[in-house]
């Protein structure tokens, strides 16, 4: 069953807060994965895999490269949910 956008956003924000040790209330839709969190290349692949599992979506490597902000990721999940 498709999830609501707001629910997806909240789940993603919770995941980012926990995974990257970021205060939940500082997370906004504009959060930029490249500049606003302390993550390396392994962290990014792990995040993509986690998002795929959480929302039952498949994210190609090309698409993953373009998901730079939280909002972009949420929009992608909404569009590609199975």
């Amino acid at each position: 069953m498709a999830m609501e956008k707001e629910a997806i956003y909240n789940m993603m924000a919770d995941e980012i807060a926990e995974r990257f040790n970021v205060k939940r209330d500082t997370i906004t839709p504009d959060l930029n994965f490249l500049t606003d969190i302390d993550a390396d290349s392994i962290d990014f692949v792990e995040l993509v895999l986690e998002v795929e599992d959480m929302f039952n979506v498949e994210i190609s490597d090309d698409d993953a490269e373009n998901l730079v902000t939280l909002q972009q990721t949420v929009d992608y999940i909404v569009e590609h949910q199975n």
Binding site: D40, I42, V45, E46, L49, D61
Partner: protein, 348 residues
């Protein structure tokens, strides 16, 4: 104790993998083996099913496959299914003789890094030909093409745990592979790593070691960045093999006296050859992930596979991974301080 086996990885898979597993099964009655592989190929090879279960899979990660893509796309491959079994707690360790990059990816992204370990690394035990111990741990052998100083620092910890738990070497002497003995040798990464390691309470750091001294037993753990470690290992291997070949050739090409001398020396040479053939004794370990993951040489045959099971058994029995996990959790402030120190050194 359960070991998940990628039965399809390796040049002689599945035949030599299954043969090796059956030898290990007879040798170690307390291990259960979960064989992941293509049913039609694996089933006919198993002579005796006691302590062996086959979990059929439909895909195989080939040697030439791009590692992360293969791990992500071939979800029903023998390697990925075996890694997921470890992730789910259905097995205690993972074995493969297959695609090293894919195994690394499976270890890092499926089994997962121990919390606090930035970069898992490939480690192996090499022979020492002098000094107080027979072997030393050498890492990183190529898991990471580039390393930060803090990664090298962490390898000192991971290597020391492997030395104590698996090789029985306590208070391991740790050295940093570098291009000179002095503290200020090497590139920035190595200069900073040297300082981090020198100030560490986590392990017994003795300073640098040069590649030519690797086999001399002056260290129990040699820490290297992945590129240098891989190059030094292959240079050492290649030189040793070439020397033995040259000696053999020289003996065969001399007259009767030489050949008789060769015959008399044969047992001594066999001993040296056995000591140099570390691939027969076990595999390379991916240290820093949440379970023992061991990669044996791609061309491994049954004996090497069986010996690797013994190596894995020891890692499990001696609680290698839980002890590393506990140590890193208990010392996270010190590890963070090392990273902060690194940051301040870089910004100077």
């Amino acid at each position: 104790m359960k070991i998940a086996i990628d039965a399809m990885g390796g040049d002689y898979a599945p035949m030599e993998i299954v043969k090796g597993v059956e030898i290990a099964r007879d040798r170690y009655p307390d291990i259960e083996f979960l064989l992941f592989g293509t049913s039609e190929q694996v089933k006919p090879l198993v002579k005796d099913w006691s302590h062996i279960t086959l979990i059929p899979t439909t895909e195989v990660i080939e040697m030439g496959d791009e590692p992360v893509k293969a791990m992500r796309r071939k979800k029903d491959s023998s390697m990925v299914r075996a890694a997921n079994a470890v992730k789910a707690g259905d097995a205690d360790a993972l074995f493969s003789a297959g695609n090293t990059g894919a195994l690394l990816s499976s270890a890092i992204f499926l089994i997962g890094r121990i919390k606090g370990v930035d970069r898992p690394a490939l480690a192996t035990a090499l022979p020492s030909f002098a000094g107080e111990n027979d072997q030393f741990v050498f890492m990183d052998l190529g898991a990471n093409a580039e390393s930060k100083a803090s990664h090298l620092y962490q390898y000192g910890i991971l290597g020391s745990f492997y030395a104590s738990h698996v090789l029985g070497i306590n208070d391991a002497r740790v050295r940093l592979l570098n291009n000179g003995a002095e503290e200020d040798k090497g590139d920035e990464v190595h200069k900073i790593a040297h300082q981090l390691m020198k100030n560490s309470q986590s392990f017994n750091f003795l300073g640098n070691v040069e590649a030519r001294e690797l086999l001399e037993g002056t260290a129990d753990v040699v820490v290297a960045d992945g590129f240098s470690g891989n190059a030094a290992l292959k240079a050492t291997e290649g030189t040793a093999l070439m020397m033995l070949k040259q000696i053999k050739q020289a003996i065969m090409q001399t007259g009767l006296r030489g050949k008789m001398g060769g015959l008399l020396l044969k047992p001594a040479f066999k001993d040296i050859q056995k000591k140099l053939d570390y691939n027969e004794a076990g595999g390379a370990v991916i240290l820093g992930v949440n379970a023992p993951v061991v990669k044996t040489h791609g061309s491994a045959k049954a004996n090497a596979v069986a010996n690797t099971m013994g190596q894995i058994k020891k890692m499990i029995e001696k609680n290698l991974v839980p002890d590393i996990r506990t140590y890193i959790a208990d010392h996270k402030d010190e590890l963070q301080a090392a990273k902060n120190e690194l940051q301040s050194q870089i910004s100077e």
